[in-house]
Symmetry: C2
Subunit: 361 residues, 2 copies
């Protein structure tokens, strides 16, 4: 049987990012701007008053108390790696972010977004620091204006090429956003209706081999606050118009699985745990390979800032419990090696394996 | 309190190489020439008849069945990595060898040995392949002739510099050997008497910062077959002269711990399991941080070659049992972060940690 070949850095990285079941059960603590806002709110301060020490502390605590549970942990290089790396559990693989927090306004009415790569930071450094993968957040719509689209696509290609050069898995997180006149906000029935197509188009685009992506980190393709079953304020008390059903959510996930050339995982995007559990369960059942969860897992611990011991207690109890809830929700997730790209673990081989491998690698 | 600073690649590597107790319980399956001989003997063949496929199979089986137990696994890039990497358990860190198998005769009566680095292989490739550390085997005596000594020291410096460049832990395995007129062989009372000093001098030499070594993989500093307690053929039935006692063995290990600037581990060098268990227990009690064990762990499985199912059965039973024996023997090993270099885990920090870390790294 024909083997699917991978380079050793990519293969070892994928194996490390997944847990022993081959499922990606990963933690994101690379938030910068959003974490700063949460800590400021809790402490009754201005955002600017939350600096390096405060951010580094919060990230360090999440890493220390939660990384032992998750198969991998995503850090940022500004406030994460320098203080948190030491606290990363040896069983949790390391992902490091490539982009800067925030985006550059561009395109139509300046409503579109361009990614800004973090200056004086690169994939060579990410590999050198010992990461098992690099991650890039990218705001993107296939119906962005041409100039913005091309710019964003080129950023992905550039990072993809560098990840190939350093033989490092590339986790791309392309997320949609509202920018058109008929899209009042992402929390609108208009945007919700479009979301399945937006996410599907994204998955299709970045499945192209030219981008060199190894794992797609995607939004849940429907907004569950707008499904028939939950539109009556189920998650947050706010009434919304029903624009689809849970069956539509399943179908949308299944469509993603069909078009995605690489294993995909669900991101949490700031939704609450209950909603996220539904996201993870549905996506897992329909072919996702797990999750890369951030705020949904830990956001409530920021409420105790700056009381460190209360923050720790929250993480050790509710934070850990959130892992187990997500573990359960992702029980049906597809092991990465069973993704259609591979078929099974037995199909995978090292590229160029043989007597001359070490010469040509 | 003053922090001991490490770069992230080195720190993450050390944490990965050690198990959750901070102890190095590592497996070596990077043997080439010696494994070839064992397989040939078992199959009743000439050494040359054991080629890539046979070596790769044996290495793959050891990796597949034993790596889930050991905190790290050492592979060679010729017959190991290309076929075994896929089978490395996600919890076992990866070391890859830098040198070629065998040495170049040199120096006094051509009895001395020069290391040959594997051509078309380097530290950049080791890092790129996803290794957590690089390993270099080096035959060495502080009383080698000047030219050989300088040559060998320069090899270590070169590899040490490259490991710094790629921020990869450097495991150096410097081993003594007999080359003088008054040293009939390593299995002689003459050589046995000298061994404590030979190993101590090696530990002292390669503790110098200029070599950039992170872990020393050392021989047990006395030959237990020549101690008072075991000289009457205890391990292999062969009578030998007693040249020291077990207390001397303890003292010799303690001396190594005192001079070694970096954590050190015990290698198995082809001794049997029973002798190796004594080595590990004594070294651990006297300050070693664990072991990097090769043939002692798995050599008997080669007897079943080429019967693959018997080889597997041996590994799954006796091979695994050998891990547990070594786990027990190394219970008193010093966690790497409690080595005098660090003092405690709390003393360790990332070099340059702070707001500008990612810029200057």
């Amino acid at each position: 049987m024909e083997k699917i070949v991978l380079t050793p850095g990519k293969l070892k990285g994928l194996i490390k990012l997944a847990d022993s079941e081959g499922k990606f059960r990963m933690l994101a603590i690379d938030q910068r701007g959003s974490l700063q806002s949460m800590l400021a709110k809790a402490a009754g301060k201005n955002k600017e008053e939350i600096g390096y020490n405060e951010l580094a502390l919060a990230k360090r605590l999440v890493t220390e108390y939660l990384s032992p549970y998750f198969s991998a942990t995503l850090m940022d290089p500004q406030f994460g790696v320098p203080e948190s790396l030491k606290y990363l559990d040896r069983h949790s693989a390391l992902l490091i972010a490539r982009e800067k927090s925030g985006t550059e306004a561009a395109g139509y009415k300046n409503n579109e977004k361009k990614t800004v790569l973090l200056h004086e930071w690169n994939i060579e450094k990410i590999k050198r620091a010992g990461a098992d993968a690099a991650k890039l957040l990218l705001y993107y719509r296939t119906d962005n204006t041409e100039e913005v689209k091309e710019y964003q696509e080129n950023v992905v290609k550039k990072v993809g090429e560098e990840c190939k050069k350093y033989d490092l898995p590339f986790v791309l997180e392309p997320v949609g956003y509202a920018f058109k006149d008929d899209e009042p906000s992402t929390d609108s029935p208009e945007f919700a209706s479009k979301k399945p197509e937006i996410v599907l188009n994204i998955a299709r685009e970045f499945s192209k081999e030219e981008y060199g992506v190894d794992i797609l980190k995607l939004e849940f393709p429907v907004n569950l606050k707008f499904v028939e079953e939950f539109h009556n304020g189920y998650f947050d008390g706010k009434q919304r118009k029903a624009v689809y059903t849970l069956k539509d959510a399943e179908d949308a996930c299944y469509e993603i699985t069909k078009v995605s050339r690489v294993p995909w995982v669900i991101l949490s995007a700031g939704v609450g745990m209950e909603e996220f559990i539904h996201n993870v369960a549905i996506a897992s059942k329909e072919g996702a390979s797990g999750f890369l969860a951030g705020r949904a897992v830990w956001k409530d611990f920021t409420k105790y800032f700056p009381n460190e011991s209360d923050m720790v207690v929250w993480l050790k109890t509710s934070g850990v419990a959130n892992y187990y809830k997500l573990y359960e929700a992702s029980k049906k997730a597809v092991p990465f090696y069973e993704h259609q790209q591979f078929g099974s673990f037995a199909s995978i081989a090292i590229k160029g394996a043989g007597e001359d491998w070490y010469k040509v690698f």
